[in-house]
Symmetry: C2
Amino acid sequence: MLTRYLPVFDWARRYDRATLTSDLLAAAIVTIMLIPQSLAYAMLAGLPPVVGLYASILPLIAYAIFGTSRTLAVGPVAVISLLTATAAGAVALPGSPEYLAATVTLALLSGLILVAMGIFRLGFVANLLSHPVISGFITASGLLIATGQLGHILGVKAKGDTMVEQTVSLLRALPEANLPTLAIGASATAFLFWARKGLRPALVRLGLAPGLAALLARTGPVIAVTLSTLAVRMFDLTLAGVRVVGEVPQGLPPIGLPPTHLGSWATLAPAAFLIALIGFVESMSVAQTLAAKRRQSIRPDQELIGLGAANLFAAFSGGFPVTGGFARSVVNFDAGAETPAAGAFAAAGIALASLFLTPLLHFLPIAVLAATIIVAVLSLIDLDAIRRIWKFSRFDFAALAGTILVTLGWGVETGIITGVALSVMLHLWQSSRPHIAEIGQIPGTEHFRNVLRHDVVCAPEILSLRIDESLFFGNARAIEGVVQSAVAERLEVRHVVLNCAAVNGIDGSALESLELIMHRLADAGIALHLSEIKGPVMERLARSDFLTHLSGRVFLSHHEALAELSPETTLACDTAIHRPIDAARVFPAKPRRPA
Amino acid sequence: MLTRYLPVFDWARRYDRATLTSDLLAAAIVTIMLIPQSLAYAMLAGLPPVVGLYASILPLIAYAIFGTSRTLAVGPVAVISLLTATAAGAVALPGSPEYLAATVTLALLSGLILVAMGIFRLGFVANLLSHPVISGFITASGLLIATGQLGHILGVKAKGDTMVEQTVSLLRALPEANLPTLAIGASATAFLFWARKGLRPALVRLGLAPGLAALLARTGPVIAVTLSTLAVRMFDLTLAGVRVVGEVPQGLPPIGLPPTHLGSWATLAPAAFLIALIGFVESMSVAQTLAAKRRQSIRPDQELIGLGAANLFAAFSGGFPVTGGFARSVVNFDAGAETPAAGAFAAAGIALASLFLTPLLHFLPIAVLAATIIVAVLSLIDLDAIRRIWKFSRFDFAALAGTILVTLGWGVETGIITGVALSVMLHLWQSSRPHIAEIGQIPGTEHFRNVLRHDVVCAPEILSLRIDESLFFGNARAIEGVVQSAVAERLEVRHVVLNCAAVNGIDGSALESLELIMHRLADAGIALHLSEIKGPVMERLARSDFLTHLSGRVFLSHHEALAELSPETTLACDTAIHRPIDAARVFPAKPRRPA
């Protein structure tokens, strides 16, 4: 019980010296990497850089206690920071105390929502976010974020709310670009792009061990930050107009109840819900991928509690919403982290950094932070995935394209909501046209197949339909329509046999529809039979009185149904290998229409 | 093509004298029945009674031209009138010209929405309204409407917005009840309740033919209206405080562009969408039930156009939203209507009534109209259906109960939206825990069954899972989790074989999850195989490159997979009838957990 809700007790009692060494090493590397990332994502969220450090201390400790992943590294991430900036920007001006209060409230609310979802086991709600929607959302957010940061690279201010407006304003401001800033920003961007793919092989060529090279290759942002800070300091580039981070307050984050107004809770709740949901989906995906590599497992409900606790701790230490990040978790994993203690040690590292290292950050150019963000978010855009989805299914592509377009044109919140609505609608549209095949007997066998695909035999007075879907409210009415049209076209039909071999489930709407189908068929003098019902469906049907007043019968096999209802045809067909079949009983390939 | 979009050309060219006679007779009966109903539902919608007549003329002609049902009778109905009153009441005061403009706008917008849905074949959107939600909504609306009308029966004014407030205000006002009004209202209610069940047998006992008795039994409201009007007139009951309909303007409805402001369109659009959707679902259900009795079929997309046209015509003749009504359609059907011309003739009948009969309606007591409404809506409440849903499925019951409670407590629009959200969520919740069974071979056969239900044999290094659901975004992540937990628990597993015999479809999210499962298994040194994939699923998978880089293989049958991957076990098992099976290969009933 205790280890169920506090996974820390599971791994802590088996903690030993070897694990400690691995965890400490991983923590050191993650700490170095987290510093520029935290500063950058705080800037993206519209907050002072130091808040990024604050959000990377206590939340890591909270996740270490409550989380189920051994190697997930939580902290500020790009998409969540963008959502935070959008939601907080709608209620307050960036830089104002109200803005900081709004981001703290968002962390608090999304923490509460995540914990509540964990306790009530509501993690399934995240399933609303289908892969194409998530993929489209990340692509669009990446483009939005990158455009927003371009101004920092150029040393000008991007104006406007939409991407188009911002791009236009950037193009107009191009002549006023600050050249030293542009030089630093562009070279940092180029270096970081190269470092993603080229640094590791370069280090290997320099003679480093492949494992060490892979780890060091991840420190591209740290190298860029260090070198550019030194350059600004040495050449006094601030005088040439290069904007730097400036004074960063030294010390640990303020602990305490966040200064939040209950009045703003209702306004921020929908955004907090989105932040919670998207953060959870992103984090779960990273956690499961890493856990699989070591055959560990992740408990989604406890993950909700772990991430919720991380956000609550963020709120109580003056931070903003956090979640499990992909890049840092992979570094943590590759650096050999074995338990969540590595996260706690990284938290200690960041705490030390915010106590002692902040003066060194004074001359860090904003343009380099922007470059870090741009490279990180553009690398999340997976054009190949978009191409694959296009090829695989036009429906999924529609959901993806809709999410991208609406996110770019109307903003992140509208985008994600549209995406969810679209994918639910498209799913309903698809289930509203369930695959229903008329089936006939393959002569000489007891097999039944689609009349349109195989040479089969049917008795004219019997309509055999195989429903290739579970029955639920999304397709219940469509099945009414299909059965009704089929019997309206074939006036000689006296029996309808529904083959339910592919029906995995049935809900109340579908039961109601089956009742209606039965009564409507009875009004036309036709009996309704069912065949090959699966165990769980049969058990469910037995809870209603549908089977007791069924106009026809329930048959174990479709062959049994036909043998009972039309023994003559069936006999002819079973022995077809030996005898010719009465031609009149061979069903024509196209259904006949009334004259 | 022409008969596709104008079904009138289909039946009109075969129209003959016999059909004319049947249609005229049916129209006469429906006209008589429609008059009190139209007045009552206009009152329920907060409109002058004559508007009810207006809404029963041109819409019927429009439906006769565009609709596909031969016997559906359109006009004002209770639930739609309530929705109209709620939506219009939110933007204007009942009785004001703005209120009338709002109801006309609602008819116009819902007409446009229905026609657009018909043209773009979006009828599937109505599937969002599951049977339990519709059932709950009608029950709750019935209670709301009945409570709202009780004041008219008592001769007092019900105050408050919610049912509880109205009930309290009615109880408080009880001492001030107008006794003559109460006497008329209560006796009309009692008579109408009795007439629903008792009038037909009573008429048969009086010697009428059963068919005629059944028809006359439906005229209960007409009898109540006639008798009570005569009573009020003869005994001058208006002087005793009995409220009557009063002056009803004589003449045909005003034809022309409705006086509507574009500004109000955005405000009224969501309500118009709900009115369109609920009206369509209700109407389709009636139309299909009646069509089935005569083996006719209904085309949903054309029905949308037919109902849309009816609402547009209602808007252009000063009416309010209409749809196909259950009671009047059944009367039309029973009275022998054979074509939609019966509807057009009934329209002519109502037009004559509004030209010449309106003076007779002056002394019609409001209490009797309220009694008509109360009896009609309470008869729609099907407590037995609620009991059946409770027994059949707790999920469906939750959707139903949620819809009832929210409709009663927060109003009709919030109620229906909550119901839809609830049923989508519950569906997702259910699909987020798909039925996945570990399967093993039944010794001596090539059949594979659930290890928990049957005595089966498994090879320890092979995990065979049968997925009993179509794969889509709702359950894709759950399947990742199940596979991951299963292999995390069984460290000896080297192959995972997913049996897809029950998988009817797969979407992009599920493909993505299969990719992830494959890569994660590969990271742990496990191969992923698939077996018994259905044709459509195979075709879909072939559009991606999943199959080409699958770590394992695709097998036609599960037996083939096992025979290939663990020939030893399979051989032992195939011949089990003759030889004992190696005990070590018999899978223990409970999955082993790691120590």
